[in-house]
């Protein structure tokens, strides 16, 4: 296959969104003539990216205690919270599948209900205690706590609406 570049044509680069890449020129925020690369995208693409980001679930926590005594740290057990979140999602699916004959439809419904409500951003917590005595620190992963509470509300509302119990 002959190369068009060698014939003197400008190479056209297509990005993974199906549009054209404008990347070669570096964006400069202080230059009023320089458009942001995302300005070439339509609104739909922005929404798509936003929806994908919502499904990200990550939680990182590190606690360092150095040269200290009588230190008490109270924190959310992330693993326990995630397990509980999964258990609640399973219970929601169970309730839906009991009420709805089609298992495919039950799965779609469960995903729709839970993914709409679970809002998780990357949570990073770092606690560093050094040369301290008699310290008490309490940290909470608010995102996880809110997620399980919302899922419980969905489960209770579903049970009431479908009149299962």
């Amino acid at each position: 296959m002959s190369s068009r570049v060698w014939k003197g044509e400008t190479p056209v680069l297509a990005d993974n969104r199906g549009g054209y890449a404008y990347a070669p020129q570096k964006f400069n925020a202080l230059d009023p003539n320089c458009a942001h690369p995302w300005d070439f995208c339509s609104g739909d693409e922005t929404q798509e990216a936003d929806q994908t980001t919502k499904s990200v679930q990550a939680s990182f926590e590190s606690i360092v205690i150095k040269d200290s005594c009588d230190v008490e740290v109270i924190t959310t057990d992330t693993q326990a919270a995630i397990n509980l979140q999964v258990a609640l999602q399973a219970a929601i699916q169970l309730v839906i599948s009991i009420s709805i004959a089609s298992s495919d439809q039950a799965e779609v419904l469960t995903q729709e209900l839970t993914q709409k409500l679970i809002n998780k951003q990357v949570n990073r917590q770092q606690t560093y205690i050094e040369n301290s005595r008699g310290v008490k620190v309490t940290t909470t992963d608010t995102d996880l706590a809110v997620n399980v509470q919302v899922l419980l509300q969905v489960l209770l509302a579903l049970v009431a609406r479908l009149d299962i119990l």
Binding site: E72, V73, I74, T75, T76, D77, A80, A81, L84, A87, L88, A91, L94, V95, I98, S99, I100, Q105, V108, L109, E112, L113, K116, L117, T140, L144, A145, V148, Q149, L152, Q153, V154, L155, L156, A157, L158, V159, R161, L162, D163, I164, L165
Partner: protein, 64 residues
């Protein structure tokens, strides 16, 4: 009505609306109730109670 009660009421109302709208959109008939045995109902009730207690105690889990 206190702020907390008001918030809980609005939260419940929006949750009910969301569930109703989602079920309707998928054309699910809510008039036919699922046939469950007493044993199944008791098991389900116990599962939901357990999950409720776990959610309540989640923030009190202590790691040292």
């Amino acid at each position: 009505m206190s702020n907390k009660e008001e918030f809980e009421k609005i939260s419940k109302q929006s949750m009910d609306l969301l569930i109703n709208a989602t079920l309707k959109r998928h054309g699910i008939n809510l008039n036919t109730k699922p046939q469950l045995s007493d044993e199944d109902r008791a098991e389900l009730r116990s599962l939901i109670e357990g999950l409720k207690q776990n959610v309540e105690s989640l923030t009190n889990i202590t790691k040292k």
